[in-house]
Amino acid sequence: MPIAREFLAWDRPALAGAVDYLLNRYRVGSIWDLRQVVVALPGARAGRRLLELLVDRADESGCRLVPPIITTAGKVPELLYHPQRPFASEVVQQLAWLQAIRGLPIERLEPVVPYPPPPTDFEKWAALASLLSRQHRELAGDRLDFQKLAELDWDVGAVWERRRWQVLSEIQSAYLRLLDSIGCWDLQTARLVAIERGECRTDCDIVLIGTSDLNRTIRQMLDDVADRVTTLIHAPREWADRFDAHGCVEPAAWSTAEIDLRSSQVEVVDGPADQAAVVVEYLAGLGPRHGRDEVTIGILDDTLVPQLQRQLGAAGLPTRWVVGRTMAMMAPFQLLAVAADFLSDDRFAAFASLVRHPDVGDFLGRSGVPGDWLTRVDMYYAERLPQRLGSWGRGNHGEDVVQQVYDRMKQWLAPLQGPARSLRDWSQPLQTVLETIYSGVDASRSTEAGHYLLAACGAVRTMLLQFSTMPPVLAAVLSAPEAIAYLLRNLESQEIPPLPAPDSVEMLGWLELPLDDAPVTIITSLNEGAVPESLNSDLFLPNQLRVRLGLLDNARRYARDAYALSAILSPGRVAKVVTGRRDADGNPRIPGRLLFATRPEEAVERARRWFAPPVARPPLAAPTVRNRSTFVVPRPAQDSATVSRLSVTAFRNYLACPFRFYLRNILRLRALDDSAEELDGAMFGTMVHEVLRIFGTSEHRNATDVERIRAVLHDSLDDVCRRYLADQQLAPIQLQITQMRLRLDAFAQWQAEWARSGWTIQHVEMWGEGNPLKIEVGGESVIVDGRIDRVDWHEHDRRWMLLDYKTSDTAMTPEKVHRQGDDWVDLQLPLYHQLTRALSWTEPVDLGYLVLPKDLQSVGLLKAKWNSEELKAAQEVARNVVQRILNREFWPPTSPAPLLLPEFDRICQERTLDRNLGEEPSPACAAVDARPPAKDGEGRAG
């Protein structure tokens, strides 16, 4: 007896018809008992809707409903036989495949994997295992095994394929044997066995609704209990020949079927924004006669979702995308990921990511670490450039806090330390680690954040449970990071549905649409690739092979989708179809073939419309209320602290940009990050300076023997490295130190000669202690701070030489650095000179740079050649700067932006197209103006 086929009314939604059917068939008096009925639908969502309709109908007709078993078609088989053994979990199957592959000698594998992953690379082998597992599942679903493929008669051109399947079939047998040995089954095999042994039976009636595509295994099992099975086909009776005995689509019949889609229902637009605009307009046109639960938006390409949600939201309509979020986005997932990174390689970067996980941050907060720990960590890195943390002890400021954070992390992750162990044994430590972080944290199920957090933890728990119950023979021995990676790989694509949102319009995927019964449906992105799907090349089962084997092929995919679209367009429903010519990246897309399943003349017209050069739609206007943004570069506060001291370098800043000077030297704003990959110019310079300072104070400072000088320099360098840098520095730093050493060697050469020519080092880091340099203007004065790197004296010539060390890669003359054209842009050396005047030195004073550039030939002195006129002019400039600073002239920022102090470019709105310096101080400024003036001395510039 074949399966009974019933046709549901075409002019009503399928589920409504199905409810009618069930009522007619099963109601007895006031009892509508469906306990012995299994209702199978293609998807879970349709099942939930069916139950709603059943309950409503029971209420309407006043009968007592005992609900049926509602399930998806894919789960029906397990209702038909008693599996003799428990099913192997996903993870168990995967690991069994893995072991089966690895059980084969590597040479034997060659036809399948000519380039096997390294034996230690568990990840890659596991990926391979799931690849094979997928093939197995699909083939078994259609009652095929690898051996059958090996036995096909292959073309000469495809002998390779035969060899491959032969080996694969060996692996498959090994896999099955393995499962056997641990006393479990995989689902597909269990079904095949049940069919083979004729074990399928049921006491229930089975009613299939809209299951337009079933695989061969399921069909066979249904056939075995055919007398209990009815399939409800939602289609006009005249279409009977478009469906087979199981109620599934007949590919041949559908390949030429016309779909009742009117051209007026189709909108061809350009990009995603236009698709969204069409949807907005369409829904706006519906007006209030429809409720928000009467409209469904079909999503065929989920990259459109954010765009749609925002545009609809802006038009006042909340939406709910039923897919929710994937595990990969979840906090516990991310937490494990960064923890694994840190465990596998505890370099600073991994540590820095780990501590930035907000849950770790909260955890550290709870465990009493000072609130600014993250800043301390950044500063520690910026100053010492560690490659990894863990060796401490020089007691620099902030180090204790960093150490505390680091120790806390180590302690927290301690359960995951130690040698590789079985996957089974990682379950508990992993759980402990998570529990530590989340202990004491509550989450609310009804908030989005809480809902996702709890669901994610639940998913982790389920997977850990699978780990812990895994048969010991299969449990791989892994390191903690490997175990975590494996855990995450199994979790990452799991989806967590969103919270219910009663007042939203639902967005559904394609598969849910045919049985959805909203009166209005808008299908977006009806484009090739999304619907209908097609498979145009494959690693194992290309389309023609699928055709040959009777697997799901392109024709069947097309038929399925053609029927689905017909059902969505069925007479009882209103539908709109949108198709886009471009994706979010601006790349062209192809129209869905279904659009052309119509009369030839109509198809010609549609093709002309689709492929003609597009007519652009006007975009939706920006919902803004003003013509210009209110972002204004903030003005300096007029009542900022009085400046009483200035550093020598501050003059350069001021000359470059008074506003940036204000930010830098008055407000003392500092950029901070941890992006350094090696010593930057400043740090490199500081270290060289320090070495040279030590040399300048050493007893050998006036040595004329190169070797002696060099020895002092080398020793000081070692010392400086120890003091300045972390023990385990970043990789390039060792090399940079070598570079330093080479430059110092060249310096030693020069210095020896210099000393031989009669120069001696008199002072290092000299400044007029007790006799500071004061610049007075209009009764006010400012003290200038600085340090002259080195002051040399020539006894014979009775001259001074003030030297400033320069360590940048290319040597620049004092002239180049201090002046641009005729303008002074830096006043360092002239101010040094001025200091000596203030100290009433009477002998002639020369100024110069002692350069240590990358070109070792050029290491040596670059003398400044300014005459006294010029120096006077520079000093005048300095006075002028002081005057302006005392007048608080910090505005406007220099334009175009100077090269100096680039960290302030954002504040100054550099490179924006609508830079706004504001005519009046902005309201934001006024707010800060009201701040009490800085305390005495606070405005002192560094």
Binding site: P114, V280, Y438, R906
Partner: protein, 1072 residues
């Protein structure tokens, strides 16, 4: 000639390349070729889309009317093309849209490689590695390279590479090296980097002797010569070779003109100099050789690490895929395998923009091309006209293969990314019997433009200062065919004008661009509605022009776009994101605090350390929990009242980028900042004036073209290296690092030739850029250049200089003058303005669907009583606890066993039955026999027995729940196990199963219902507090059961009772 003889078309700009290609495609279709066997590739997805559009559109037109069909028949020279056949073809094509192979080479290769990923050794599930992660990975590889250097080799190699310089930055140096040289490394074998002759230097004694002798040379009273000789020797001792051979007497000797200030250098000196030069040569070549080799060694180490990292991440670049595929296809049998997995054999190959093909791309496509060519031999022959079409014979077999390729060497502007136009030329000799065609009739430009194009390339070689480029320029220009235009009547106008001279405070470049912007503004005003393309060479000029145009109120859009950092609002967000990563950064804090975003986020005091730390963690949490897109979208909407339209639009684009970024998101917000800073995002609105680089303009056309950026050097920066290959289709077989002209003089002849070849490539590319730029115009072309410098003695070697040489008799460009014109200044009055193309944004409609705050009819919320265990708040650790697996399994099993029991003792299942049930359960952690024993124990407990024995139960129930008037004996009870229910309650659907439902009847009247819920929690029966707690915990659940059952059986809720049976403890706890 056969219809399907291989055909190569050289198609000048605007001559209808795509038309030719679609002709060929359509022709094949009409000859019965299946579309899945036709491969058509090009370089951008946009261009691929255009080919498809063009093919289908033409077919659809022809299918629509008889006239169009006739026109198509004419174009294809195929009389069999009728409207009916067009319909038939079109329908077939539409049915096969999924099988078309019209794509970019990259996506074709990715597709091929995916179908063979295991065989090619690609990581399973590999993905394409995008630019930004690629750069990150490269940095990581460099870092690792430095880290894994136990032998300190790197220091040695670095010093060699840096030519003795001691750079501060080592990782930067390496990264630069990798960026510049890795591509050529990939194309070469190790030997290519080791192709220097072993020239020996003089021995120490020899050297001393020579130097001494030279020192001793006397030049009578020629003090200049003596001085020069002395300086030469100093330079020689300092080993400053560049200066040595570039100056003084050595320079003269090496140039073969041994005279100094017109006086002959004595022979003896010349000879000695010869020896010194030989010595220098030996040293220079030796050093260059060592440096080149060191560079290779470094790259090889880097490569090894980089490849491992990529494989580990499972990500590859398109270039990698191409190379691997080319390897995999090099086996002649490989094609069949690809045919199988692709379900079709590619028989017809149509290649577009062939001049841009790189060598690996050609190697990968070549097997397909070769097969197509071979098979085209046995194609049915029939007479045909040029263009590839011929009269059809309906009966003829479809051709088995064909090859077609179109390109233009004059438009080869992608050499920098591997394009090798030379392959194009080589192809002709590679393919036997290939047909060639040259197209030089433009379907785009007005005669004025075409005339100018011809003039430029005919007369450009007159430039007086081409020097070493001269012959290359000549050769290039000679190859340009004379262009004609199909639109002989099209109105048009071309000018070349000079900008005013810049005053001292501005740079001439800025002045020229400003002048060009003025010009554009007046053009737009004079001819509204026309499309204007402003084409610059560099991105900086593009940005500057946009700025200048906006200043003048001209709506201009930027092709390719700017980073979003051109918006103040976006910059503020970036500061916030930086702060989230580094709360100690006071610059970002200040920026944020003084922006409109500060008050929104309640952060207005930049000195607030604690506030900054809080804000940082808050932002990171929000980004993690909600994602970048939604979080930034929320900020955008909160900022909206503060935003002007442009900033709003940029913020919206930021949101889009943020959504796209999500899959790459890490916990480091600064990585997103970097992403935003590097990603260019175009204005979505195409303004009538589009500003772009010449490279971006390829394939586009405009009514008016303005070229404002013609003054930079034509040849640009010297390359970092030069290469040699024996044949265009052969890999590079020799690499040499770049050295300047004076050092070049010391190098062996064949290496110097490589430098010359490099010159040729550079100048050719530059001429290509000029060609592309001036051929984009339909009607008008306006070129704006800087005035000639006062000090100018030669024409500059720039596009401006080229144009001056070609278009102005004197070559001079005085400031602010019209230097050249052609055509009609009033052209726009003689042509019809195209329909309005400017799109005015439209108002946003409001959606007024009826809201349903709680009465949803479809998609109601579903509640299962079993999920109501605790309230809304839950400890996160509870969600994590696995409990023990055996506990869960035990619970499930016990439930299943209890479900078997109707009434004791009759319905007690046998041990055999129970074991069978256990077999079906997941019971891996259980000892079933133990469980069985325990189950028997449970059943032995008095309360359990009482509850499960009918008479006891009824008595108990009657006492407990019923009016004392009713006797147990009058009662009848039905027992339901796992009783399913579903009811509508308020706005939710309540559904689930009752473990054990007892329906109590008196006669036929249903009196009451009683719910028994089995619990396997361990509980201490003697602890009343524990019992009470359990009761409270389960109360909401039990109430839900009661109300559901009450509704199903239409009983008052008071008549529905419920109790918990804690089976392990053997206690029954009544709830109600």
């Amino acid at each position: 000639m056969s219809a399907f003889r291989p055909l190569i078309i050289r198609a000048s700009a605007g001559t209808g390349k795509t038309f030719q290609l679609s002709n060929r495609y359509l022709y094949l279709l009409f000859r019965g070729v299946g579309p899945e066997t036709i491969l058509a590739t090009t370089f951008t997805r946009k261009a691929a889309g255009e080919i498809l559009d063009r093919v289908v559109e033409r077919l659809a037109q022809a299918a629509a009317t008889d006239e169009s069909a006739a026109a198509l028949a004419e174009q294809l020279k195929d009389a069999s093309v009728t409207r009916a056949r067009c319909v038939e073809m079109l329908i077939a094509m539409l049915r096969n849209l999924h099988r078309l192979r019209i794509s970019t080479m990259d996506s074709l290769f990715a597709h091929l490689a995916t179908s063979h990923s295991l065989e090619l050794g690609l990581p399973p599930g590999w993905e394409i590695l995008d630019d930004i992660p690629n750069a990150q990975l490269r940095r990581r590889a460099v870092e690792q390279l430095l880290r894994d250097d136990p032998d300190r080799d790197i220091a040695r190699l670095l010093h060699l590479m840096a030519q003795g310089d001691v750079n501060r930055s080592v990782s930067q140096l390496l990264q630069d090296t990798v960026r510049e040289l890795y591509a050529v490394f990939l194309e070469t074998e190790a030997e290519a980097w080791n192709q220097f002759p072993a020239w020996s230097a003089l021995s120490a004694e020899e050297l001393d002797r020579v130097v001494e002798s030279l020192q001793a040379e006397s030049y009578d009273r020629d003090s200049r010569m003596t001085k020069a000789r002395n300086e030469d020797l100093v330079r020689f001792r300092e080993e400053d070779w560049e200066a040595f051979i570039g100056k003084g007497l050595a320079a003269k000797v090496i140039d073969g003109d041994p005279r100094y200030h017109k006086k002959p250098i004595p022979e003896s000196s010349v000879e000695l100099y010869g020896l010194l030069i030989r010595h220098a040569r030996g040293l220079v070549v030796g050093r260059l050789s060592a440096q080149t080799k060191a560079t290779y060694d470094m790259l090889a180490r880097f490569h090894k690490i980089f490849v491992a990292l990529k494989l580990d991440e499972g990500r590859l670049r398109f270039e990698d895929v191409t190379r691997i595929l080319a390897q995999g296809l090099s086996d002649s049998n490989a094609l069949a395998g690809f045919d199988f997995r692709l379900d079709a054999s590619v028989a017809h190959v149509l290649l577009d923009e062939f001049q841009d093909t790189s060598l690996p791309q050609w190697q990968a496509i070549r097997p397909f091309a070769a097969r197509a060519v071979i098979n085209s031999d046995d194609s049915p022959r029939s007479a045909t006209a040029a263009g590839g079409a011929g009269p059809a014979e309906a009966t003829s077999e479809p051709p088995r293969g064909s090859f077609f390729c179109v390109g233009d060497e004059k438009q080869a502007i992608y050499a920098w990314r591997g394009g090798r136009a030379e392959i194009f030329a080589a192809l002709e000799s590679e393919i036997p019997g290939v047909d060639r065609a040259t197209l030089a009739e433009s379907f785009r430009s007005a005669p004025a433009v075409i005339e100018t194009v011809n003039r430029v390339f005919e007369r450009l070689p007159r430039h007086n200062h081409l020097e070493r480029f001269e012959s290359h320029v000549r050769t290039w220009c000679e190859a340009v065919p004379r262009h004609t235009t199909a639109h002989r009547d099209r109105a048009g106008y071309v000018t070349l004008e000079s900008a005013p001279r810049a005053d001292e405070s501005t740079f001439q470049v800025a002045r020229t661009l400003a002048h060009a912007a003025d010009r554009i503004a007046s053009l737009v005003a004079a001819s509204p509605g026309r499309s204007v393309g402003v084409l610059a060479r560099k991105n900086e000029a593009v940005a500057r022009l946009i700025y200048e145009l906006r200043q003048r109120g001209v709506a201009a859009s930027e092709e390719g776009g700017n980073p979003l950092t051109d918006s103040v609002a976006v910059q503020t967000i970036l500061s916030l994101l930086h702060l989230a990563d580094h709360p100690g950064d006071t610059v970002s804090r200040f920026h944020l605090a003084h922006s409109p975003l500060g008050p929104i986020l309640k952060f207005t005091d930049h000195q607030d350390n604690a506030g900054a730390a809080r804000l940082a963690i808050h932002v990171r949490r929000s980004l993690l929990e909600q994602g970048y897109g939604p979080t930034i979208a929320r900020w955008t909407s909160e900022l909206r009242p503060q935003l002007g339209p442009r900033d709003y639009q940029r913020m919206e684009q930021l949101v889009e980028l943020a959504y796209g970024y999500q899959s790459a998101a890490t916990l480091r917000t600064t990585e997103f900042v970097r992403h935003i800073e590097s990603e260019r995002v175009a204005d979505p609105l195409v303004a009538p004036v589009r500003v772009m680089t010449v490279h971006q303009s390829k394939g586009l056309q405009f009514d008016i073209v303005v070229l404002p950026d013609l003054d930079s050097s034509a040849t640009g920066q010297p390359a970092t290296f030069v290469t040699h290959q024996s044949h265009p289709t052969k890999p590079v077989d020799r690499v040499c690092l770049y050295r300047n002209a004076s050092v070049q003089k010391l190098l062996p002849h064949d290496i110097r030739e490589m430098f010359e070849e490099e010159d040729r490539k550079q100048i050719s590319e530059s001429l290509c850029v000029l060609y592309v730029a001036i051929t984009r115009a339909i009607h008008a072309l306006h070129m704006v250049i800087a005035p000639s410098k006062n000090s100018e003695t030669n024409l500059p070697r720039s596009h401006a200089g080229f144009l001056r040489a070609a278009l102005i008799e004197s070559g001079l460009a005085p400031p602010g003058e019209l230097l050249y014109q052609e055509g009609d200044p009033d052209w726009h009055k003689r042509t019809v303005v195209p329909p309005q193309t400017i799109l005015v944004p439209q108002a946003r409609p409001e959606i007024t669907l009826r809201p349903l705050p709680d009465h949803r009819r479809r998609g109601r919320e579903r509640t299962a009583p079993s999920g109501l265990e605790s309230g809304d708040q839950q400890a996160v650790v509870d969600a994590l606890r696995t409990g023990n697996a055996s506990g869960r399994q035990f619970g499930t099993l016990i439930h299943a066993w209890f479900e078997q029991i109707g009434w004791l003792p009759n319905d007690l299942p046998t041990d055999g039955q129970l074991r069978r049930i256990a077999e079906e359960q997941e019971a891996s952690e259980l000892n079933v026999e133990d469980c069985l024993r325990r189950f028997q124990q449970f059943l032995g407990s008095p309360s359990t027995t009482k509850l499960l024995t009918k008479s006891d139960y009824l008595t108990g129930f009657a006492q407990r729940a019923l009016d004392s008037a009713i006797q147990a004996a009058e009662l009848r009870v039905d027992v339901e196990r796992e009783y399913p229910f579903a009811v509508q309650q308020e706005n939710q659907l309540l559904t689930g199963f009752v473990d054990r439902l007892l329906l109590i009847y008196q006669g036929n009247r249903l009196l009451a219902a009683d719910i028994v819920d089995y619990k396997t929690d361990t509980i201490d029966p003697s602890d009343p507090r524990a019992l009470q707690a359990a009761k409270e915990r389960y109360r909401p659940q039990q109430q839900a059961y009661r109300s559901a059952i009450a509704q199903v059986f239409q009983l008052p809720t008071t008549q529905v009772h419920a109790s918990l049976l804690f089976v392990t403890a053997g206690v029954e706890v009544p709830i109600a």
